[in-house]
Amino acid sequence: MNLRLIIALVAAKLAMYLSKLSGRGRGSSLPGMVALRICPDLLKYYQGRPRNGVIMTTGTNGKTTTSNMLADILENEGYRVVTNREGANLITGVATALIKASTLTARLNCDYAVLEVDEAAFPIVTRWIKPSRVMVTNFFRDQLDRYGELDTTVSKVLDALNKLPGEAKLILNVDDPLVARLSRETGKATIYYGVRPDAVLSSIAAYSRESKFCPFCGGTLVYNIYLYSQLGDYKCPKCGFVRPQPDIEAEDVTSDAVGTKAIIYDHSSSSRGVWPLYIPVQGIYNIYNALAAFTTALSLGVMPEKAALSLTAYTPATGRMESFRYGNKQVTLTLVKNPTGFNQALTALLAQKGRQDIMIAINDNDADGRDISWLWDVDFEVLAQYPEQFNRFICSGQRAEEMALRLKYAGVPIMLLAMEKDYQRAVNAALQGEGAAVGILATYTALWPVEKILGQKAERVSYRADRMSSIS
């Protein structure tokens, strides 16, 4: 019996209890931080504990949604699942989730651990805990000052995957060349998911600014169809690297203000089939998240019909396009953290009917990324093309001025711009604006205070207490 481990777990549980008691913060990282300080190799005691294995999700966007979707499917199958639902995905968040579910001797009574792991933390977490399945969603630019450049991130994840035991399986997004490459480079058994190339989808998708170069030879990739960022049907004319054939593929994807529909095909030899899928969240990117969860669930033996049914009942976590109602106005709250995600959020705003009041809260704390230069890679120019759709843009957060500046240079008329650093007043101004709907976008550390204010003033359309995000 390891005394240090027990002391660490007692301290962490105490921290959890105190944080609950004080009602401050939601303690999704702090207890793990406390425990790791006392017992740095704490995670190794959890290796092998979940009876049926550990499934990790990494990548830039969609980790929380994908991981939560899979956890839902498995829970609906009757499995006991330990998961870091709240999106705390650094080593401290992973440790907190495990400690919370475990005894003081690190025993877990669960079938699966479904863990979302930050791409920079992935090599560290997998040093201790070996997943049997890894889902990789996509690689976009994100918070560069924390991660170094995209190439470095991808190669670190690749290194970590190479160090996993031979039987670990990869579930990869076939439409992202930076993700699809991981199969060939690790030699690991892979199941690919993707969206069937379709010119209709391509024309409604926003812009791209990601480098589109072959990860193997550096040649320029040629796209048959282009979805968003570097995602699409690609091939390299120089070395022949080409989008692999997906095992699970979505077709006829359509998205409206309430949800997204698609038809899913299973092309794998073992279990051919076709299923309709409906998820109650907007945006083509959410089809990718659902596909990853669906594909992984099937590989764990879940019946496809039941996996699809669980996805239909999915409710988003805080900031992943949450809906509120204020009087007769629809209010959406969206987390923004990189150009690709922000562009998708803008596409969703433009799809709304009626004039809107927009609030954008930008912070530059560590968790947001201290460098906010990426705002200049977001295509705010599309907003300036439809000025009649917007009543006002209220810029808030620590970098409110910079946000207003970005909109000014995007061509948004100055008279539509306002700055209000105080969240309370900013939310009030947005809710009481003359628009017929309200769109609120916030970076990570601005999200929680804004969500709290919104929760007091407006009625939540979807709510699950265990889904609340935390910034502790």
Binding site: G218, S373, I414
Partner: protein, 240 residues
């Protein structure tokens, strides 16, 4: 008509540096000055002599290597244009490339274009964070703000820096200098991007481009309330 050359926008698309081109364009057109931008990618033909403002950003190591290889084939034309007063803004990786060499941690020297007399060596720790500089532009002192993120340390051999560091690290974290100036070339490590929230620098660069073309360099005053607030917010936060 001013013509802007945006070098390798497909390749060097990190850190929002395209905002620099946007700021130059907007501040010209808000004044009724006609301006156009041409994006030049790897292998595209380019006549540097035809341009009034050249922008070079930075990229990851791989992208940087591709850009260096391509620019090396055009270095003579670029040198001639620079000597003829071409206005250039080079940021981060683009900055390093204009110098003599980059020395790796193993002591290996990767040659640069050698347009300016400075060199860069790999540092032991990446320098990351907000920066405030004091620069002298057209005889007036002004504070520039931005965000630095670089692994290399640059030494400018007594040439004129863009500014002196009031907060942050600058070229190498040792001599208190940031960037370098040579003729009408401006080099800096600062992302942010640099030009939008430093309108005094942007206008100075526009004026130089106009002057070189033989136009009047007197610029109409613009309403810079938001620009100045963005600049001042960082100055207040970092220097108080």
């Amino acid at each position: 008509m001013l013509t802007v050359c945006h070098l390798y926008p497909d390749l060097l698309n990190l850190y929002g540096d395209r905002g620099n081109v946007l700021a130059f364009m907007r501040r010209c057109s808000w004044r009724g000055l006609s301006v156009q931008v041409r994006e030049v990618n790897l292998g595209d033909p380019v006549e540097f002599a035809d341009y009034d403002f050249l922008f070079i950003g930075g990229g990851s190591d791989r992208e940087q290597a591709l850009m260096a290889a391509d620019l090396k084939t055009r270095v003579d034309a670029l040198r001639m244009a620079v000597d003829n007063g071409l206005v250039v803004l080079a940021i981060c990786g683009g900055y390093q490339l204009l110098g003599r060499y980059y020395r790796t941690p193993q002591g290996h020297e990767i040659p640069g274009l050698g347009l300016l007399d400075f060199y860069t060596e790999a540092g032991d720790k990446r320098i990351i964070g907000n920066v405030v500089l004091e620069a002298e532009l057209a005889g007036k002192k002004t504070k520039l703000v931005g965000f630095e993120n670089h692994g290399g340390k640059t030494f400018i051999n007594g040439q004129k820096p863009l500014g002196s560091v009031l907060y942050g690290h600058g070229n190498n974290g040792q001599d208190g200098q940031e960037g370098v100036r040579y003729k009408n070339v401006f080099c800096s490590y600062l992302h942010g991007p640099l030009l939008p929230k430093n309108p005094v620098l942007t206008d100075y660069i526009i004026a130089l481009a106009l002057e070189r073309k033989g136009y009047s360099s007197k610029l109409n005053v613009l309403d810079d309330e938001i620009e100045n607030l963005a600049n001042q917010a960082m100055v207040d936060r970092l220097l108080s």
